[in-house]
């Protein structure tokens, strides 16, 4: 498998990372090297093998639906790039 420059640009967009054309070229060569390594997996017959997501194969713990955290809104917003009236500010999304 070999990624084209277009594919690299598409992946970068999926990941929301801006890449210049020069960066895309370097990234393309690095990613293709890494995928060459990864491709070794394709030779393995894994029919009937259950995928393993976690070492201990436990299901997620559930807890009672009760308030367990104190309100720390002002501490959390104190480190935000831009806030106003308790809201996080981002560029306008809806005209």
């Amino acid at each position: 498998m070999s990624l084209t420059l277009d594919q690299v640009q598409r992946i970068a967009h999926l990941a929301r990372i801006e890449v210049s054309e020069a960066e895309a070229l370097t990234t393309q060569s690095h990613l293709n090297g890494i995928f060459q390594l990864i491709e070794q997996m394709q030779a393995v017959d894994t029919t009937g093998v259950e995928p393993m997501a976690h070492a201990q194969d436990l299901s997620q713990r559930l807890r009672e639906d009760v308030v367990s955290e104190p309100d720390q809104r002002s501490a959390f917003q104190a480190i935000a790039p831009e806030i106003e009236a308790g809201l996080y500010l981002v560029p306008k999304v809806i005209e």
Binding site: A15, R16, P51
Partner: protein, 485 residues
């Protein structure tokens, strides 16, 4: 005091031979003097450390000190610590002062009374094996400052090796405690997945990440693990198990211990001098009463490929939270919302982090999920099953930690695949979720060599016992780099 064990420091503090304040100042002075050369710490806040030391001294005076109260420690900068800059080695978090404590920090500092000396340098978001991907520059290996300390816990390793701290924390997703421990002549332990809480430990690959101690000896690691481990309801994969004393079996004789030697770890691909040191350690274990059995981990060659699908997939998901909205870095100039995300992430992440996020985004994307992500998870099962088979005929597995000693700065930085292969012996342990250690076992060309011990699930106490008995019979772990006084 600089080279004292944690037990000796604990006794000195209890006997009032030294105060925590004096001890903390002693190490802060060393950091002041030697950190400009090594770059092991990214954040030091003497006033904060000295205040914690004063609080520890008050606890000691009041008679409610624990074994580790008042002992200084270095914290990897992956752990959120309230009021401390917590950067994870990234520009993305270069302005992030954590509003809360990770469970590891709370247990070690608030509960046990250890005193933080500061936050140690690391590969950006723990992605690297040389500490060269840090936004704050590379860490230098105290054994040869032209060489890397390993990674990703490179700052912690260099700090302890140069005795800028008596001990440190690390985290290990694919070898990030064990490999730097090997390259810097330390003892490091990655516990069974789920033993130490991940709450407040900035996530890289959540199904693999595990924190553990890095110190000068197995005994020190046992005492530290006692302060770190335990169930935490704030970590959804934390295991509900009774608390253990990990130092309980340190002195057990090794007679009858069956040590497995995986033939795949003793073939080509390992430096000959490294292998000679590992073989000598095997001889030492035979003298201590252990018997060697050959075992096989037939799928171990697939661990690096499977890891470089699973870890980036989880990373791409975990790191999607860094969007320049709620905390961390935001680009200065941008157009619409999407442009703000794209520019903040392009400028905030380094090259290796971007690569891994992109690999992850690709292997999880429509049409590739089955071929890559599911296939990697199936291979993960095969790798874990290999260990289950091997542990039917042995109690412990031994091999090299790293295929080479510390390499030169820049030597592998341009070729990601070469860098990835330096974790060839450590990654399978994370995929299986097993506990593993690295223990100093000699030198090659003047550089430290690490012996890897791999235990069965929850065999931390046994691993520490096996490491401790070896350290009573040898003095490799007591060797210190020259020229750092």
């Amino acid at each position: 005091m600089i080279n004292a064990s944690l037990k000796q420091l604990s006794q000195a503090l209890a006997a009032k031979q030294i105060s925590s304040l004096e001890l903390t100042q002693l190490f802060l002075d060393r950091i002041n003097r030697l950190n400009p050369t090594l770059n092991a710490f990214v954040t030091v806040d003497a006033e904060k450390s000295l205040n914690s030391a004063r609080a520890a001294d008050a606890r000691i005076a009041a008679g409610n000190a624990g074994l580790l109260t008042g002992i200084p420690i270095a914290q990897k900068d992956i752990f959120c610590a309230e009021g401390w800059l917590t950067t994870c080695g990234s520009k993305m978090l270069s302005n992030f002062v954590s509003p809360y404590d990770a469970t590891v920090i709370r247990k070690m500092e608030t509960d046990a009374g250890l005193v933080s000396l500061g936050k140690t340098n690391m590969d950006e978001f723990a992605m690297g094996s040389s500490n060269e991907t840090s936004f704050f520059g590379p860490v230098r290996n105290p054994w040869d400052i032209e060489r890397v300390p390993g990674g990703s816990s490179g700052g912690s390793a260099a700090a302890v090796a140069a005795r800028l701290a008596p001990a440190a924390t690390g985290t290990d997703t694919g070898g990030s405690i064990r490999q730097p421990a090997a390259l810097c002549n330390l003892t490091g332990l990655k516990p069974t997945y789920g033993v130490v809480s991940r709450y407040g430990m900035i996530a890289f690959a959540s199904s693999l990440d595990q924190a553990g101690p890095m110190a000068a000896s197995a005994e020190d690691c046992a005492l530290l693990l006692n302060s770190m481990a335990g169930f935490d309801e704030r970590d959804s994969t934390s295991l509900e198990r009774p608390l253990e004393d990990y130092a309980r079996d340190l002195e057990k004789p090794l007679n009858g211990l069956r040590v497995g030697l995986p033939k795949e770890f003793f073939g080509d691909g390992c430096d000959a001098e490294v292998m000679a040191a590992v073989r000598a350690a095997i001889g030492e274990y035979e003298k201590l009463g252990a018997t060697m059995v050959e075992v096989s981990l037939p799928n171990s060659h697939l661990s690096v490929p499977a890891y470089y699908v699973i870890a980036p997939a989880e990373a791409s998901s975990n790191l999607s939270r860094f969007d320049g909205v709620r905390y961390g870095f935001r680009a200065e100039n941008y157009g619409n919302l999407d442009d703000m995300y794209m520019k903040s992430r392009a400028q905030g992440f380094g090259a290796e982090v971007k690569r891994r996020i992109m690999i992850g985004a690709y292997v999880l994307s429509h049409g590739y999920y089955d071929a890559y992500y599911l296939q990697a998870q199936r291979i993960r099962r095969l790798i874990a099953n290999d260990f289950v088979e091997a542990f039917k005929t042995c109690d412990m597995i031994i091999g090299p930690t790293s295929p080479s000693t510390a390499f030169k700065l820049g030597e592998k930085a341009a070729d990601p695949v070469q860098m990835y292969l330096s974790d060839i012996y450590t990654i399978a342990v994370n995929l299986a979720g097993l506990p593993g250690m690295s223990v100093p076992c000699g030198f090659a060309g003047g550089l430290p060599v690490g012996l890897q011990l791999i235990g069965n699930y929850f065999a931390e106490a046994q691993l520490l016992n096996v490491a401790h008995k070896y350290q009573q019979a040898t003095d490799w772990h007591q060797q210190r780099p020259a020229g750092l006084d």
